[in-house]
């Protein structure tokens, strides 16, 4: 069947189509959006849905076709590049092509992005069905896919950066989608700005890469930023690898919401829930992880940089998990959970387990998207209510949502055999195996917390007594098919997605790891000896039991004994307040950075330096000095003739005195 396809269209063109289709969708929907601005959309609504949903699906189909083709390649390396569509910049010393790189990593990402993306688009048809910004929504969402795919498929760093910033743009637009709520608009602004801080580091990293490539005398024509070229001249990166890696990681910290730049992500929940699912859970936020893995050949050169990556990841994983414990907003819980899970991924990358990072990235995409979509379904049903304390017992009213949510919760909690179990276990095991016991311990604790907070949510939302006012409770209903369908598909994936990473010890083949192994420069793929096999199983079981324990605990407490937590909270009042207020980090940033910056800019830079000194003292001061002298000189012209004669005489005396003496 594919052969027939390739008679009409080359595989390169197909690759381009993956990127182009969402762009076309975005453009068309943008036109509709502008055309119907301030008017009723009417029949355009179905056109918008059609374009918006079909384009990502087609892109997914194209990606799938390429993936199938790649798996059937007989050579050891199935990757290929599309070659430049056009040259973005060519000058002496700089060549940047616009080209795509289809390799094992990028195609997996593309599949995930288009796949999950399509589902979420489909979900959005129902979720956003009555919004007046419908066309705008789909335009922005399609545009997001375009940029995300650009980011993923780019064959060079600059193009990747284009996607990188582009997804930031879309994130900004979509977070602030309901811009009339100033808090939402503010959240969008905050997200973009915090991301920008990371991007600045990213840029600096790119410039250093350029410097390295230039010093390596790499052939300019191929492009200094080309991944292929960079990996070929890998050796030259040795002296600078640490700093470059850290700078690039700075970018990842921003995009993937790690300490200390994670603050935007909880706020980003202001966007429509499908957006949170797609951008702030499944795809965009994982771009940082993707970038680290993509450039693993540089990161791997610097153990120090890797250890920083791992430490930041682990710290974030634990830290965010603690905050997840106390949140009462369902989306916020998921947001902190996302931050925490991203921490895991970085921890994996940091210990050198790049493929484990990607594995968790993929499974996380499934179950976290699912969690968000379920949450969206609940919120939709609850007419916008997001506080889990005002929910409860919803399983009777919306069973599909409930049970898919539980599946996703199992997955994220790492309960076998759901997807999360395998991927998370891989990370923890890799840390343990490489002797990173501290990291492992942190990850282990965080895993328990994860299980606890997610089942806390399950318990409070779907089980136990309902806190919903009865008349409202009656109105709660299951979501329409267009929304339920993606839930079911994702539940399926969350349940079975782990199969791609089933480790050898459990009789699996770690398909993903094998698939990616070509690209990973430094994965100490220990052929598991007998000893470690046993250890691995022991560790695995311990982790599993630990997670199950907390799962049960969380469910019991919050579904059955809801009075307990308050008692605990009162007992540990200070700690609880601290955590519930997210450690006051937003306030601290506000106090330490935002306010001082504002104050300095206003009072010192603008009013003091600019207005008072430069403009006031220097500019107007000069003018005033001139004015004063002008008045003095003018006053000397008193009108009295004798004065004039006096000036004359004095002048004459001076001239004569000077000349005659």
């Amino acid at each position: 069947m594919l052969d027939t396809l390739y008679q009409y269209i080359s595989i390169q063109t197909l690759a381009w189509l993956i990127v182009a289709l969402p762009l076309i969708g975005a453009a068309l929907n943008a036109l509709i959006a502008v055309g119907t601005a301030k008017r009723e959309m009417g029949s355009y609504r179905s056109l918008v849905s059609f374009i918006g949903v079909v384009m990502p699906m087609l892109a997914f189909a194209a990606a799938a076709a390429i993936f199938v083709t790649m798996t059937s390649f007989e050579s050891t390396d199935p990757s290929f590049i599309t070659g430049p569509l056009f040259q973005w910049a060519v000058t002496k010393g700089l060549v940047i092509d616009i080209g795509l790189k289809m390799d094992q990593l990028s195609i997996v990402m593309a599949l995930m992005v288009t796949g999950v993306g399509s589902l979420i688009h489909l979900y959005s048809v129902g979720y956003m069905g009555h919004d007046e910004g419908y066309a705008r929504y789909f335009a922005e969402l399609n545009l997001f896919l375009f940029f995300m795919l650009t980011l993923v498929l780019a064959d060079n760093l600059v193009l990747m950066f284009v996607g990188w910033e582009g997804v930031g743009l879309c994130s900004y637009l979509l977070i602030g989608f309901w811009f009339e709520d100033i808090a939402k608009a503010r959240a969008g602004t905050k997200a973009f700005i915090v991301n920008r801080i990371g991007d600045a580091f990213f840029l600096a990293g790119m410039f250093l890469i350029y410097a390295v490539m230039a010093s390596a005398n790499a052939p300019v024509n191929a492009g200094y930023f080309n991944f292929e070229m960079m990996s070929r001249y890998n050796a030259y990166f040795v002296p600078m690898a640490g700093i470059i890696s850290l700078l690039l990681f700075g970018g990842a910290v921003g995009k993937s919401a790690q300490i200390p730049l994670y603050v935007w992500l909880p706020d980003a929940m202001a966007g429509p829930t499908p957006v949170s699912a797609l951008i702030h859970a499944a795809t965009m936020v994982t771009a940082g992880v993707y970038m680290v893995v993509r450039l693993n050949f540089i990161f791997a050169l610097s153990p120090f940089a890797l250890s920083v990556v791992a430490s930041v990841g682990a710290a974030t994983a634990l830290y965010a998990a603690t905050m997840g414990l106390t949140q009462t907003d369902i989306k916020k819980i998921l947001a902190y959970s996302t931050i925490s899970q991203l921490g895991y991924m970085f921890m994996a990358a940091g210990v050198g387990a790049f493929s484990a990072a990607i594995g968790h990235l993929i499974t996380h995409a499934f179950f976290k998207a699912l969690l968000f979509l379920c949450a969206g379904s609940v919120i939709h049903a609850m007419a916008g209510e997001q506080d889990i304390r005002k929910m409860g017992g919803l399983r009777y009213r919306m069973p599909v949502t409930c049970w898919t949510f539980v599946i996703a919760a199992l997955a994220i909690a790492g309960i076998a055999p759901a997807a999360g179990f395998f991927s998370k276990d891989a990370i923890l095991w890799q840390a343990f195996e490489r002797g990173q016991y501290v990291l492992w311990t942190v990850g282990f604790i965080a895993a328990g917390m994860t299980a606890f907070y997610i089942f806390r949510a399950v318990g409070m939302v779907f089980f136990g007594e309902s806190n919903v006012p009865p008349e409202r409770y009656k109105k709660v209903h299951e979501s329409p098919t267009s929304m339920a369908m993606p839930l079911i598909i994702l539940a399926f994936l969350s349940l079975l997605g782990g199969l791609i990473t089933v480790p050898h010890v459990l009789g699996g083949t770690d398909r993903l790891g094998t698939w990616l192994s070509k690209l990973i420069a430094y994965e100490t793929s220990h052929a598991p000896g007998e000893e470690s096999k046993a250890t691995e199983i022991v560790v695995m079981v311990i982790t599993l039991l630990w997670s199950i324990h907390f799962m049960v605990l969380g469910w019991v407490i919050y579904a059955q004994k809801r009075e307990w937590p308050n008692a605990v909270a009162q007992k540990f009042g200070f700690v609880y307040t601290l955590v519930a207020n997210k450690y006051y980090v937003d306030e601290i940033y506000d106090f330490l950075i935002v306010r001082p910056l504002n104050w300095i800019s206003t009072k010192i830079l603008w009013q003091t330096i600019d207005d008072t000194f430069v403009d006031g003292l220097a500019v107007h001061g000069t003018a005033r000095t001139v004015g004063v002298w002008a008045n003095i000189v003018s006053m000397a012209e008193t009108g009295v003739l004798q004065q004039y004669l006096l000036y004359f005489l004095i002048g004459a005396v001076v001239v004569v005195g000077y000349l005659a003496l």
Binding site: S634, T638, G639, V640, L641, Q642, L649
Partner: protein, 101 residues
């Protein structure tokens, strides 16, 4: 005791400076004008002294012209004084401060 050109020049300078002092110290336009006449007179002495010592006739001729010009100036100057007196009933220059600044 020889009288040299320097003596005459000193006299000339003395008269010139006295005239100048008069010009800057007096307020009566007529006296200022007279002081100026004093200065012109001093110039004439200087011219004649130089003419005498250089044996040049030019100096004396110039004095002739200066005398004539001074006369002409006197006519015009007094005309101005009269016309201003008609308007303002004063010849004191410190009262003429219409124009200033």
């Amino acid at each position: 005791m020889m009288i040299t050109v320097h003596h005459y020049l000193l006299l000339s300078i003395a008269l010139f400076v006295i005239g100048a002092i008069g010009v800057v110290t007096r307020r009566n336009a007529l006296i200022i004008f007279m002081s100026i006449e004093l200065m012109l007179n001093a110039v004439n002495i200087a011219f004649l002294a130089f003419a005498r010592w250089n044996l040049l006739i030019e100096g004396k001729m110039i004095v002739l012209f200066v005398l004539a010009v001074a006369a002409a100036e006197a006519a015009v100057g007094l005309g101005i004084v009269i016309s201003i007196y008609r308007n303002r009933q004063t010849v004191y220059v410190d009262e003429m401060r219409l124009l200033k600044g």
